[in-house]
């Protein structure tokens, strides 16, 4: 689960990480209030979306830049007027962009140097890894590619945790001296504590800056949390922004369906994540374009299949549906009855191909054939993919 920059900064502040003074706003009244809190001086106006590249992005009406450093309150108001409720397209949003419903106003600061600091839970080593660099404010992947020696990595054992000597190691490697070593250690300790306590998968501060006055401040913050652990953190759950999620995906999660919207026009419904991915793959290999990933899980009963059909059909791009279910413990005849009943609950106006395999498969196929529902049973996954791609093409 992702959160916005302003939320990440608030959270980090609670853990003792210095952030610039800032105020979030979702409407014109809040914009006015936010701007009034800041001096009539340099202000940074930042579009809040769950995607990077905001500074270089362009709004759909042509207004350039989702991060603006302005000279005074008037310019801040002007930037806000352009940004709020406008749609921002960045390298990470996809061409359709993301609607900006929240703005964040912060005081600007006199930057001496930009650093990079992140903590990530590394799956290969099963440890937390601190990643730091003197090359902040830019794409860290590019830095890693061009100058790998400028990336500092320190692994932290989950059972031992972050110790002060780790903090010193990173601080000295970044070239800090004297008082700033202590400041940095305090910051890193706070970031790690938040990362570990809140089950984050990633905390990225890019840039972490030193100011001309000698302070160290987090100028940007990106945090994402382990979805498996959210149930343990009601305070983090509150930070979820449904506007940043596809409504179909939100609906699907209510029914315990794993659903991901894609760009194509052939929808699929499968039991099991691996099989669902493989089904999307085979559609693509036959020249079709998958409209979604959908795992109905071990259930695949009438209620779930009905909910799944409804969600699939709420996507206007969908021109065909492929249902692929392997009946293991759940028998194919039971599944077939569920599919038929669900198909009768929902008005399915596009070609539907159903491929069943597993226990009682012949009985299942018979039920489908004799159901009176407009669907094509397939004998194999290859045949099913061929059928659906063909039928979608013919439908025009």
């Amino acid at each position: 689960m992702n959160i916005h920059e302003y939320q990440a900064k608030r959270l980090l502040k609670e853990y003792g990480v210095p952030v610039p003074r800032g105020y979030a706003a979702t409407n014109s009244r809040e914009v006015e209030t936010a701007i009034s809190h800041l001096g009539d001086d340099m202000i940074v106006v930042k579009a809040q979306i769950h995607a990077g590249g905001r500074g270089k992005g362009t709004f759909t009406d042509g207004y350039k830049g989702g991060v603006k450093v302005v000279k005074n309150r008037e310019e801040a108001q002007d930037a806000a007027n352009h940004m709020l409720d406008n749609t921002l397209v960045t390298a990470q949003t996809g061409p359709e962009g993301r609607k900006v419903q929240t703005l964040y106003f912060t005081e600007a600061c006199d930057i001496e140097h930009e650093y990079y600091l992140a903590i990530v839970l590394d799956r290969e080593t099963a440890q937390s890894v601190i990643i730091a660099s003197t090359e902040g404010g830019m794409d860290i992947e590019a830095v890693a590619e061009a100058t790998p020696e400028k990336i500092i990595r320190v692994s932290i054992s989950p059972t031992m945790g972050l110790r002060h000597y780790h903090c010193r190691r990173v601080a000295f490697a970044l070239g800090f001296e004297g008082e700033q070593v202590k400041q940095f250690a305090r910051i890193l300790t706070g970031v790690y504590k938040m990362f570990w306590e809140k089950n984050a998968m990633l905390v990225e501060i890019n840039p972490l800056v030193t100011t001309k006055q000698g302070q160290i401040i987090a100028l940007d913050a990106k945090v994402s949390f382990d979805s498996n652990a959210i149930f343990q953190h009601p305070d983090i759950q509150q930070l979820r922004d449904l506007n940043e999620e596809d409504p179909k995906e939100v609906e699907a999660s209510k029914h315990n369906l794993a659903y991901i919207a894609l760009d194509g026009n052939i929808a699929c419904m499968v039991n099991g994540a691996g099989l669902a991915m493989a089904t999307m793959d085979i559609i693509q290999s036959f020249g079709g374009s998958p409209a979604n990933f959908l795992d109905v899980g071990g259930g695949a009963n009438e209620d779930q299949v009905t909910a799944a059909f409804k969600i699939i059909l709420s996507d206007p791009n969908v021109k065909g549906i492929l249902v692929n279910i392997f009946g293991g413990i759940m028998k194919c005849d039971v599944i077939a009855n569920g599919i038929v009943a669900a198909a009768k609950n929902v008005d399915i106006t596009v070609p539907l191909v159903v491929r069943l395999e597993g226990t009682n498969v012949e009985a299942g196929k018979k039920i489908l054939r004799e159901s009176g529902v407009a669907l094509t049973p397939a004998d194999s996954l290859v045949q099913a993919a061929e059928f659906i791609v063909e039928q979608v093409k013919n439908a025009g």
Partner: protein
């Protein structure tokens, strides 16, 4: 493969009295698995389904009933704790079926397994389990699709594995052991671990590896295969059509924003290792039978 589970396995079911634990234990007993005890804290002393004694702790199950393998059907909040308890009780093999275990918990479990303990092997979490056909079934896989034989199968998926196993069985080729290592990013047994075991098992003549996007497990396994495995190996990778940055159902099935963990990279590793590649899931058995006659 008698290293992990076979007819001598004495299974304890952690979470036996829960709905999932009860259903799948009944199925496993029907298959012939020897379930010697269950563990549900607070229900020690009860008898489950008129046949299996329930204990309060895993230690009791080991001391009083000689359990030597544990399967865990415990909700995500308590699953890691259950694994740690089994490790402490020195159970040689623990299989955690549970989906949704916090990743941080698994990082801690892994640390415990590899740096503080030498006795326990963990499979999972978020896995269908392990089966040695005809001898012992532990987990949620449908028993009837399997057949005793000499092909070892290792997979991150559940139903995708059943597809492959069904194909093999229907073509007359049985399986020595099928291990579902699960779909999580941090788990107990990797593709490499399983393939190493199959390679060293005199009862396994050929291997199938079913992988998916995310992480580098398949690449690591292929490096091992290239160097050490002479037995025929076939493989398939799911997720070639998945977009970057999205978790495709399994917590570990994600191509990172920087492009690490793609199906393409894994297929390339397989090609380099001489693995016979299935390009679609219907052809997994075919990919093996091209190079293995049984």
């Amino acid at each position: 493969m008698s290293i992990l589970v076979n007819k001598d396995t004495r299974l304890v079911v952690q979470g036996i009295t829960g709905k999932t634990g009860t259903f799948h234990t009944q199925q496993c007993i029907e298959y012939g698995t020897n379930v010697v005890a269950g563990v549900t804290p607070g229900k020690g002393g009860q008898i489950w389904d008129g046949k299996v004694p329930v204990c309060n702790t895993v230690e009791e199950a080991v001391k009083q009933h000689g359990a030597n393998v544990s399967v865990i059907y415990v909700p995500p909040a308590f699953a890691a704790d259950s694994i740690l308890e089994a490790i402490e009780a020195q159970i040689p093999l623990v299989i955690c079926i549970t989906e949704g275990v916090p990743v941080r918990d698994m990082a801690e479990v892994r640390r415990r397994l590899y740096f503080h303990n030498t006795k326990t092997k963990l499979i999972g979490p978020n896995c269908p389990g392990i089966i040695t056909p005809g001898e012992c079934k532990i987990g949620i896989m449908p028993g009837y699709i399997h057949k005793p034989g000499r092909v070892g199968v290792v997979s991150r998926s559940g139903t995708l594995t059943y597809e492959a196993v069904w194909q093999l069985t229907q073509r007359g080729h049985g399986q020595s052991t099928c291990i579902g290592i699960g779909g999580d990013p941090i788990n107990g047994t990797s593709q490499l671990d399983a393939i190493r075991m199959f390679n060293e098992d005199p009862e396994t003549d050929a291997i199938i590896m079913i992988g998916e996007i995310g992480g580098s497990a398949e690449e690591e396994a292929c490096a091992y295969i290239k160097e050490y495995v002479k037995k025929p190996v076939a493989g398939f990778i799911a997720g070639a059509s998945a977009p970057k940055g999205r978790t495709m159902g399994h917590a570990g099935a994600i191509v990172s924003a920087s492009g690490a963990g793609t199906a393409e990279a894994k297929f390339a590793a397989m090609e380099d290792a001489g693995v016979s590649i299935a390009r679609n899931p219907s052809e997994i058995a075919d990919a093996l039978l091209r190079i293995y006659k049984g």
